[in-house]
Symmetry: C2
Subunit: 518 residues, 2 copies
Amino acid sequence: MNGGQALIRTLVNSGVDVCFMNPGTSEMHFVAALDDVPEMRGVLGLFEGVVTGAADGYARMADKPAATLLHLGPGLGNGVANLHNARKAKTPIVNIVGDHATYHKQYDAQLESDIESIARNVSPGFVRWCKEPAHVGEDAVETVRAAYGPPGQVATLILPADVSWTEGAAPADGAKRPPRREASSENVELAAKALRSGEPTGILIGGSACRRDALDLIARLSAATGCKVLCETFPSRIERGAGLPAVDRIAYLAEFAMTQLDGLAHLVLVDAKAPVSFFAYPEKPSYLVPDGCEVHVLADPSEDATRALQALCEAVGASGGGAVADAARPGRPTGELSAQTVCEALGAVLPEGAIVSDEGNTSGLWAARATEGAPPHDWLCLTGGAIGQGLPVAVGAAIACPDRRVVSIEADGSAMYTLQSLWTMAREGLDVTMIVFANRSYAVLNMELGRVGATSGGAKAKEMLDISRPDIDFVSLAKGLGIPAVRPDDAESFTTELERALNTPGPSLLEAVIPGLM
Amino acid sequence: MNGGQALIRTLVNSGVDVCFMNPGTSEMHFVAALDDVPEMRGVLGLFEGVVTGAADGYARMADKPAATLLHLGPGLGNGVANLHNARKAKTPIVNIVGDHATYHKQYDAQLESDIESIARNVSPGFVRWCKEPAHVGEDAVETVRAAYGPPGQVATLILPADVSWTEGAAPADGAKRPPRREASSENVELAAKALRSGEPTGILIGGSACRRDALDLIARLSAATGCKVLCETFPSRIERGAGLPAVDRIAYLAEFAMTQLDGLAHLVLVDAKAPVSFFAYPEKPSYLVPDGCEVHVLADPSEDATRALQALCEAVGASGGGAVADAARPGRPTGELSAQTVCEALGAVLPEGAIVSDEGNTSGLWAARATEGAPPHDWLCLTGGAIGQGLPVAVGAAIACPDRRVVSIEADGSAMYTLQSLWTMAREGLDVTMIVFANRSYAVLNMELGRVGATSGGAKAKEMLDISRPDIDFVSLAKGLGIPAVRPDDAESFTTELERALNTPGPSLLEAVIPGLM
């Protein structure tokens, strides 16, 4: 057995049985080994950003890592942006980067570069260089273990070509998912004390605390103590909809976030970090917790948030039920297409069990409210701010959950970073319905230009934020990648087409040409 | 004057007056400053790989650097692959990466990451963190100087948002291009001795030795001494065509390269490195210089190759002229479209002064021979093996040389990495004619699968190298990005359409559906 075969077998033994890939010559023995280990599914992406983003989306929904297969330093580079987003989401990923044969590196061939330097950016906690076939099994187990954490992380395994092709390797038994640590009883007691204090107290949730079990407990706490519940701005995955507790997310705009946090004397963090501004702005604070507000950590990202919340409920006597969202949908919108009517259309027809990959950016602002009372669904956000995540995450989520409908709501500018995702959707026949908000602008930057005080910007600056001239035709782009697409003219026809797309197997795209924000 | 304004002014003072960019919020003051310095041209790319590849193509043709503007670590990550290619090409690039405000970094906001770790991969020789507005001018000058080298390199300047927006900066006078060092007379004498020895001697050229002046001198040396002349496999820019010396490039396949080098007793390197195999293959050598062949460096990449060649000509008494390629074009091809007939069509109609950006990969194998006797033109290669370079390089070359026609010959798989380039071509109205070889396969990998001995690969492996299912429709993709495109059916109509495209202002694309290699 060669190194490539032993690696794939060990991954499968560890429950990692999907590998998103964009391989090159140095990975050919790994690719050939796919035929030796039938349990491993290979999914090809035409660009590495698709591969890494898909691995992120997959793990968010499957609650276990996928593997990636990337080609040397440049392949890893192309995958960095979505690995960055995965790092911020604390998503477990087994990130395999092929390298030249060990003895070939000294010759500084064309593709030679310092892979580890790039890997440290996205995998600061774990970069393993597999040096010999005999170590492959153990190295693979260590990589899977590191990926799981807790908290989850991108764990990088660098695999030289000769380690992959040399015989003498053996698979290892496979890694098990390690349990999360229990939060300290002292932290539970401090949080309980804050909730009992009678002072204004908020609970800020993120990560694993955005799943149904945890949300139910938080709703009970809120009902019992009157505490305010907030969610991080961009949760990696939140369960929501009718019958689930509705939670406000901290606003992207720091001004609004500060209003949400205003007056709190205590802020209890549950798998979340204290809120900070997304960017810095002249003369505005970066740290958004109000002066004098005490911050308490109930559970950090490596700890079991749900058990900590159970203990906290017991400590404050929160035994009753909490408020949940009523079943309610917006009416089917009429009139002109706009960011708002498109979001209302989504709310009107979103199917039960849908998975929404949200990279709608400014245009998606109305989406959360419009879907709050829709049937239960999952919502996946842009966790690290590196645009180009939404479409690949939709790919991965659809592979993880073949029985569910994935809806990708996507800003036009962001869609252009990893549009190659559509080809993988077509090849794999994934049930992904895409909505592209075509406002033909980096609208968020037009807003930010003023917010950062860059008021001297004139025509040349504006041109760098404008993505018309030429207008992008997403219907043609989708067709070019094998996906049916339409561009409805008004809200009624958009809703009709959306409903049709959601009920048709396979991928499709709707382009919504809408006015910009300004 | 704020830091952004001082930076742009200093770049312009240094002769750097084009900035390819894909900015975000942290770069808004730089973007706004474009309106304060009218001499600086901003060119927007919808993806950072377009930006960095365009900067590479620009500098290869303009012989001076462009600037880039990228958004934090993920933006730099998206640009890594083409910065890698630029590093291998020794292309000067002033690579500006925006960062969070200095005081904001401590909060680990969504887009925070270790930028420097990525930058070290592509800018191992120069990464400068601009810490204060008062240092901007000097830091910009140092960055431009570092980019020039010699040899040229990617020089990275990290620009925090608050350095950009704070007043108190002043521009500096600007950097001048430093001269190349003179090669040592001892090296000239050693090379002369080899040429005079009567033993089989080769001259291997690369980099700056691929321009007309150097090529003429090398042809004289060859005529006078009978030495064999070879060129590196993937020169960054070589001048060629009728009336210029024709030089064989070292073959990509090591087996063929070894045949080219076989029997040499001396190999003289002129701005080139001793040849090594692109990848390692089991049981095959990585270092391709024959046993017993002595390697002499006439000029290294930091030295003046042309002056060294002049001195060498004097030393061996090579005063006569050398052989040049005759004016000769293949006949207009007839019959079925194939990689060969497409290349013949190119040879039949390539206009004088064209710039060919060559990422044809396996399909482009016939292109060099078919164009050898075409009117003089420049040929730009994939220097670092990171595919997705050809289209962005075409963008940059067209911006550098608005009076010349750029021809981009592009493999379908490679085209998909940075297809966003087409939008910039459309926006800027660039005279770029694209030929996409659609063999619907990562053909090189199908070949490499066997060459590396990965013979166990079956149906699953083959599927990872196949990019049909669905077939990519490049005509629709081009239309989606604002570019007219056609898909001719046979060689005659292809040639006619190619000729028409070459004589029509602005960009256009021809898709050639051709059989694969195997």
